[in-house]
């Protein structure tokens, strides 16, 4: 599989030979993390380590309320290029990309958060539902080649190498301890799996732009990372266990103190599954954006994004304005994704005919306050 994909990519690369002496390109680096419950301070402690104070936990509980808690992060570097020469006497031109990207998505029920970070004392006599808690991560390196037509409409074929991927999930689960501390029941059905090595795959990117001089607006549609990878060796730990007890007996058949001390630990309730190959979808993303000019130097943008393991679609709306001949800036409101409403701002500076720099800051408060629920930054260089 790996050899076949490499061969295919080399054939396409050879076909593109001769197109690279005249090209334009842009590079983007980005990073963001966001949660609807974990403040920057708590998130930082979870990443860097340290003592988590109970007040931080309580504040996260209050922020999460009764909803599913989410935390997501994404970061990466992307380089896109396109040839300035037409492809074989057509209007199309060769284009391509290289991307390094890492993505993580963690979700938890309020009960799981409470049990993990505060214990079960406040939950005595309550049935805690654990269903739906999940985490998954992945890191991909991608290289692509494709064609770009009029209005920068673009189609690319990606060769994808996934360096690591992991997926864990509690499909069903509950936990209950009686107020009198004389009854306990717990059930978990879930799994945690990971690829033992890198996996290869294919994906496509497509962009379609509606740009008309006669139309007072523009519309853009992008589909990214629509594809799959095949992990050559996938290991999965599965658990499906119910425990129900009023307390252990010291000895005797079934669950007892003696049998627990003689047991081999958690391995007795975990089933290990080793798959020769595992087919997996790459988290794709679809962006649709609409731009409407409010005047000769200002405009209104609306953008919607789905995919990228985001729990809910991400919606952005903003106002932009040109300042002078070289500057352009905008303010935005962002909703959805992994977090709540937050502001964003961006600025673009360009040197006509040469290059442009763009800086996008999501949730500017996140850069100065530990109380914010995330932050994001995108830096882009465009060779014009």
């Amino acid at each position: 599989m790996r050899g076949w994909l490499t061969y295919l990519f080399l054939v396409l690369a050879c076909a593109a030979q001769g197109q690279f002496d005249s090209l334009t390109w842009e590079a983007t680096a980005w990073g963001q993390h966001r949660s609807n419950a974990l403040s920057g301070e708590l998130g930082g402690l979870l990443i860097r380590g340290g003592q988590i104070d109970r007040t931080l936990v309580e504040s996260a509980q209050a922020a999460q309320a009764g909803e599913v808690g989410t935390f997501g992060y994404t970061s990466g570097v992307a380089v896109n290029w396109r040839s300035l020469r037409p492809w074989k006497e057509t209007e199309a031109r060769l284009c391509g990309s290289f991307q390094f990207k890492t993505l993580g998505d963690i979700r938890w029920t309020p009960e799981v958060f409470d049990l993990v970070f505060t214990g079960n004392v406040g939950h005595l006599g309550r049935w805690d539902v654990l269903d739906g808690s999940r985490f998954r991560t992945g890191t991909w390196i991608q290289a692509a080649i494709g064609l770009e037509g009029a209005n920068r409409n673009r189609m690319e074929l990606w060769l994808v190498y996934c360096t690591q991927s992991m997926d864990g999930r509690i499909r069903n689960g509950h936990f209950y301890v009686s107020e009198g501390l004389d009854y306990l029941t717990g059930y978990v059905r879930g799994h945690m799996g990971w690829a033992e090595g890198g996996s290869w795959g294919l994906a496509t990117n497509a962009e379609w732009h509606f740009l008309r001089e006669e139309a007072p607006f523009a519309f853009h549609l992008r589909v990214q990372n629509l594809g799959f990878t095949v992990a050559p060796k996938w290991t999965e730990l599965q658990v499906d266990t119910l425990v129900e007890t009023t307390g252990l007996t010291f000895t005797g058949p079934g669950l007892s103190v003696e049998s627990l001390m003689e047991s081999a630990g958690a391995s007795e309730i975990i089933t290990t599954l080793n798959e020769r190959y595992r087919f997996g979808l790459i988290p794709f993303r679809m962006d649709a954006s609409f731009e409407y000019p409010l005047g000769p130097r200002s405009g209104w943008d609306v953008q919607a994004q789905i995919g990228d393991w985001m729990p809910v679609p991400r919606a952005v709306t903003g106002y932009r304005r040109a300042i002078g001949k070289r500057w352009q800036a905008g303010v935005q409101l962002v909703a959805g994704g992994w977090g709540r409403f937050r502001p964003a701002a961006w600025a673009r500076w360009r040197k006509p005919g040469e290059h442009a720099w763009m800086l996008f800051i999501e949730d500017p408060l996140g850069w100065g306050s530990n109380a914010a629920y995330g932050r994001g930054i995108t830096l882009r260089y465009q060779n014009l």
Binding site: G49, I52, V57, N120, V121, G122, G247, L248, T249
Partner: protein, 515 residues
Amino acid sequence: MKRLNTCIRFQQGLFVLLLSAVAFGCKREPITWTVDVALPLVDDGWSWVDVIEVSSENGSIDVEEGAPAVLRFEGPVADWEIPSLTELPDTIVAQELTPDFTGGPFPVPPGTVLLDTEEDIVFEGIDQQFSGLVLSGGRIDYLVESSTNGYVELQYDFPSVTIGGEPVELKVVLPPSDGVAFQTESGTIDLAGAVIDLTGVSGNEINRIASQLVIGTPADITDTAQVYGTDSIRVKMNFQDMFVEQVGGYFGQETVAFDVDKTVFQPADFPSGFLQIEPTRAKLQFRNTIAADIRLQLDALSVDGIAVSHPALGIPQQIARADWSGGEVEPTVWEVDLLETAPSLFDLLGYLPEAVTASGEALLNPLGDVSGGQDFLDTRQPPQLYLDFEWPLEGAVEHFRVVRSLALEGTDLTGFTGELIVRITNGYPVHWNVTGTWDYEDPAIDPEVFSAEAAAFPMTEVTEVRIPIDEARLASPAILIIEAAMTSEGPVQFTGAERVRLQVAYDGTYQVSVQ
């Protein structure tokens, strides 16, 4: 060129960013937080059956529910061992072959037999007349030596010793000696499970194993041995550690002491108190499982040194041989009624004595060899003292104290603090006073003493004790001593359905640490 420079600068920046990320990632400390945990840990209980099963290893014991409940015990209380029948003395057999000439060398071609002899190996030091036996364990350590300048073959066959149906044999080929040192070979033959016919070569002897020893030069080695008159070939067989599983023959007239010292209540476990025991049946039986007559005379019976008389004491009892003719033992039983003792044996037992002692002696085959050498013993079914006992669970319990101790190893649980909640529900119609002492090995930690009181059933209130625990206490090895004292208000009747329930829960705080 400008684009190329931009590209290089970009790559350098990316490299610095990645390096920073790696360095940042390495400086991670453990994540710690505290959780409040409350969980049930133990829920166990003790009914009559649980309590009694612990004290009975071999017998059949049960409690029949009723008003009152009846406790029945039927089973062996002591085995009688006769060492002279169960372990054979070690026996060494040595053979030496020397030429009956001087000088030499004389050539001995391959395939020559130098010695071929059949003879009995006699087991010395056995007073009985055994005709056959099965060993549960034992071995032969052998040593073969040769000073001959040529290959020597030795074959020692024991046709009357079989293991798994195959006769035991030893075959050794020794290489030529250098004329200075002996060539030797040694080893061990395991005799576990060996069936041994002790009637010798003739088939009419006793305590003898038939054997055949052949010494010569191997036929399959083309080497002519050069033998001198001073050469010798020696073989030594050492029969060791032979333990008998079954033995037959005539066991002789041996007098064997019959002493039984049975521990009843260990003072460390039962320091004091009184338990009213009034059985309705208490038969003590001697079960003769040997196919040999026994004359048994019990001379004395005592409880912690207090002599107890019984009409059967001091009177020899002729107990006929057991019947093994069907392959299974039909023991012969002699029985005494323990309810006929004076003073009452069970009145004395009520005061929780440490030991009951019986002494006497037994004579095997008091009438001589009446079976014609057909005595038989299977050590897996030895003669036993057997008790058939029935006790209606009714009576008074006065300050009956039971002490149990439990050694606890230290457990490292950082940031652990809280309480063990111990709940006791008493279903017995006796009042309980429980005192616990958690004595730590670490002298810096004071012992934890707690006490609880449980009213007699039907007062069904739950007794609760809270024992503080923390990281330091759990880390120190300790001994937990529980002392329970029971008292009834006069005689009480047990129904057999009584139960004590013990529940332990934990309520406290634990500091989680994730590396």
